[in-house]
């Protein structure tokens, strides 16, 4: 019996040592069980036990049901027949299992049929599912759309739609991108207008919409005719009817099981979600951040799958009289892959935990407005941290998955280039992760503010307040690396040339990511000898990367900026 939870020692390690107490208390409002649900946890141990058991179920579905179908799903793909999307047989089969297992409302409140689980647990589930089949996105995305509706929608919309999402009766999509509004969502043109009765109607075209066939969608639209930019945009719930046409499905490099639709809205009825003019600045940003966590988990799942294929092949493939795994060129690649995945996982869980703390505090603040004073300062610092860490992990994990999938093919040699093996699928599937829900370049833009505002310093101070007596030498190396990073940061903050700051932003964010991961891995090393080896090997290379990047920023001449026009025209 394949089980993607039970066979993954690193996930089990984190589940054992992860500090979830405060998250659980906030999410469960100190176990008051005000919705009187029979499946509500009685205490922290009960909640953790339920998380384990549900993850075990998902691990089994991923390993037993989904993974064996992934190659067929990839080959069969999706079809548009008479205006309706048909999933691959395998996709439909596993979606049915998820619905019957009551897993579609993973994070939604129990009163709507959900499980009320935190994002941290969702990311673990999303990773296991993506390891089985990266295209099985509907599950992950569904959570984000449901959660956005839960957070910002009216009670009327929530009680109408959330139970249907939680039961799996309705699929959903986020409908943002347009032909001329990709990374630049401020340029969205799809029009929303009100009739004399105050009802909203949507007109225009949306493109690259994942699961655009979902029964409901959240649509970003221009509600203020004469207002350019983000301030003219609002958010609408749309339920499928004859006034929206799926014009085509994209023919893609990877994630073939996931339909990517072009949609045309012809005076389709929409329902305003939240307040007007906050569509992009508030609701889309919240939805995006939530989705980014999911994509990071998806990327780590793909990387895990690719690594396992490569490791197994390297053990079985005999060349020059022994398994290729014994060759330094190969075992270095495999070790780097494994460390990169574990560095990603520890940062993913840290980010999800911070997001859960922020969301939990917001939830309590809504329930008990009189506690706002006690909560606000904590809430603010977690919100800042979440806003920095989310793009950091999205950028890191998705680039890492691409590298790992690339090396996984390399280890297979010519065999890996062939369709008969899974690694070429992982390679194709990984490619989208660093593009959708914001390219890596946009993640840098989103994360750099956390560096210049000092959020990173506070975070590193916090990590340094912990005990590292189990590895004093490695801790010293981290301090020295931080010192170099901060010199570069001070330098960057002093630069007035916006182009130069933007030029170095990627390097700065990569350094900060490296540092945070260094501290987190060393923290993990407190619990296991093997993790100490992971931390040691990671920190050695990371410290060198930081030295290189800091030197390039501090002492470099930025000749590229001087020369690029002469070089590329």
């Amino acid at each position: 019996m394949e089980n993607f939870l039970k066979d993954n020692e690193d996930i089990l390690f984190h589940l054992e040592h992860m500090d979830l107490d405060r998250i659980i208390r906030l999410r469960e409002d100190d176990f008051k069980n005000s919705d009187n649900a029979p499946h509500a946890p009685a205490d922290i141990a009960d909640a953790r036990d339920s998380y384990m058991k549900v993850l075990d179920m998902i691990g089994a579905i991923s390993g037993e049901n989904l993974a064996p179908l992934a190659a067929d799903i990839d080959q069969e793909g999706v079809r548009l027949t008479k205006g309706e999307v048909q999933y691959a047989k395998g996709t439909q089969q596993v979606l049915d299992i998820f619905a019957k297992a009551d897993l579609m409302g993973f994070c939604l409140p129990r009163k709507y049929g959900g499980l009320n689980f935190p994002s941290t647990i969702l990311t673990i589930a999303a990773e296991m599912i993506s390891r089985a089949d990266a295209s099985f996105l509907n599950f992950g995305l569904q959570q984000d759309i449901g959660e956005t509706l839960n957070k910002f929608g009216s009670e009327e919309l929530k009680s109408k739609y959330l139970p249907r999402l939680a039961s799996g009766e309705y699929g959903s999509s986020m409908i943002l991108t347009e032909p001329d509004a990709g990374s630049d969502l401020q340029a969205v043109r799809l029009k929303a207008h009100q009739d004399a009765h105050g009802n909203w109607y949507l007109n225009g075209v949306k493109r690259f919409i994942t699961n655009g066939n979902g029964r409901i969608g959240l649509v970003l639209a221009r509600s203020e005719e004469n207002m350019q930019g983000a301030r003219g945009l609002s958010f609408f719930l749309y339920e499928r009817d004859e006034n929206m046409v799926i014009r085509r499905l994209e023919d893609k490099l990877g994630i073939h099981g996931s339909p990517t639709c072009e949609l045309q809205f012809n005076n389709a009825r929409g329902y305003l979600v939240g307040e007007r003019r906050r569509g992009l600045s508030k609701y889309t940003m919240w939805l995006m951040n939530s989705a980014r966590l999911g994509i990071a988990a998806q990327a780590i799942g793909i990387a895990e799958a690719a690594y396992r294929e490569a490791n197994r092949y390297a053990e079985e493939r005999i060349q020059f009289g022994s398994p290729v795994k014994s060759l330094p060129a190969v075992f270095e690649m495999l070790t780097e892959m494994k460390i990169a995945i574990e560095a990603g996982r520890t940062l993913l869980y840290e980010t999800a935990r911070i997001v859960d703390l922020k969301e939990g505090l917001e939830h309590i603040k809504e329930l008990y407005p009189d506690r706002a004073d006690q909560i606000n300062s904590d809430l603010k610092s977690y919100a800042r941290l979440a806003n920095m860490l989310t793009p950091m992990i999205k950028g890191y994990a998705t680039e890492m998955a691409n590298r790992v999938a690339y090396d996984a093919i390399q280890i297979h040699g010519g065999t890996g280039f062939m369709r008969d093996f899974n690694v070429e699928r992982h390679y194709r599937d990984a490619r989208i992760t660093s593009i959708y829900e914001g390219t890596t370049q946009l993640q840098v833009v989103a994360a750099i503010g956390g560096l210049t505002s000092g959020t990173i310093n506070n975070a590193l101070d916090e990590y340094e307040s912990e005990d590292y007596s189990h590895a004093p030498q490695l801790y010293k190396r981290l301090l020295s690396a931080r010192n170099k990073f901060e010199k570069a940061l001070v330098h960057i903050k002093g630069i007035e040339d916006a182009e130069l700051v933007s030029y170095h932003a990627r390097r700065m964010v990569e350094m900060a990511t490296d540092l945070v991961q260094g501290y987190l891995l060393l923290r993990d090393a407190r619990h296991a000898e093997r993790k100490l080896k992971v931390a040691e090997t990671f920190i050695e290379k990371m410290a060198t990367r930081i030295t290189m990047n800091a030197e390039f920023i501090l002492d470099g001449e930025s000749s590229l900026l001087r020369n690029y026009q002469q070089i590329i025209g």
Partner: protein, 293 residues
């Protein structure tokens, strides 16, 4: 008017995933070394019961298992998948039961439930592989039986008739009979539904209240207000009004005299060419020595 459905299930050692020490030196199964699982065909029988319940409103699915206290796990799993009522038939005096003694105890437990319309169980368990318990239980209850079914073709609760498709060598046949009936279900149809996360969280702490002196009547049926405690009925030999002489070792005429270890070796493998002629010769040879045909 709904139907009363009773599903007989068994916890078995996972013989599909054998590890090195799966057999004891005397050749018997080392149960401690193998993970205990829900007998696979019983899951199909449970699903068949749910399918009937879905099509005949008001029906109830009762699940019974006979076994040691650890067998409570298959009952919990049944609750997670949607059972309305579960009971563990457990008593030291049931120990070492063969199929005759087992079917007698199950018959007594079924009669304790009272009225029933359809009894379902897997065709066979993967540990003993006898396929006898279902048919013997039907005989003891004095009701009809259709074995090895993979599909219910027609069920008419009003006329109290059922038609099922059963597997026979080389094909299928449809059999029609009246209720009450016992069906043994094979693994071809009724793909089992997964456990529900919500039901799992509701029932994961369910217990049988083993320490209670009057535990035999302790049971509850599922309901929205139910939390999780004491949802599993525990019936001992007295609770099901069974005659101790007909139970366990004393009720089991089967005696194991000897178990031979058969070790399959790779000797005797013969490679033949992948040509029509060579394969034809091989088939003729196998027919001649009666391996085929």
């Amino acid at each position: 008017m709904g139907l009363n459905l009773i599903v007989l299930v068994k916890q078995v050692p996972d013989t599909q995933n054998i590890s090195g020490n799966a057999m004891k030196e005397d050749g018997t199964v080392n149960r401690a070394a193998l993970p205990a699982i829900f007998n696979p065909e019983d899951l199909h029988a449970l699903e068949a019961a749910f399918t009937i319940r879905d099509s005949v409103p008001g029906s109830k699915v009762h699940v019974l298992t006979m076994g040691p206290p650890s067998a409570v796990q298959v009952l919990k799993d049944s609750l997670y998948r949607g059972a309305d009522f579960v009971a563990l038939i457990s008593d030291r005096r049931f120990a070492a039961a063969d199929t005759l003694a087992t079917s007698y105890a199950l018959k007594c437990a079924i009669e304790k439930i009272g009225s029933y319309d359809i009894v379902l169980c897997g065709t066979q368990a993967i540990d003993g592989d006898t396929a006898q318990v279902g048919p013997q239980t039907a005989e003891k209850l004095g009701i009809n039986q259709i074995t090895c079914i993979s599909q219910i073709v027609e069920l008419d609760p009003e006329k109290r008739s059922i038609t099922a498709r059963r597997s026979i060598e080389g094909g299928y046949e449809k059999v029609k009979t009246g209720l009450p009936v016992l069906l043994t279900v094979n693994g071809e149809g009724f793909p089992p539904r997964p456990p529900s996360a919500i039901r799992m969280m509701t029932y994961k702490n369910a217990t049988t209240e083993m320490s209670s002196a009057d535990y035999d009547e302790t049971y509850l049926t599922s309901g929205a207000e139910l939390k999780s405690e004491n949802t599993i009925a525990l019936w001992d030999i007295n609770a099901i009004n069974a005659d101790p002489e007909s139970c366990g070792l004393s009720g089991s005429p089967t005696k194991v005299r000897n178990i031979d270890m058969v070790v399959l070796k790779s000797e005797g493998i013969r490679m033949i060419e992948n040509t029509e002629e060579a394969i034809g010769d091989m088939v003729h040879e196998l027919v001649a020595d009666h391996t085929l045909g």
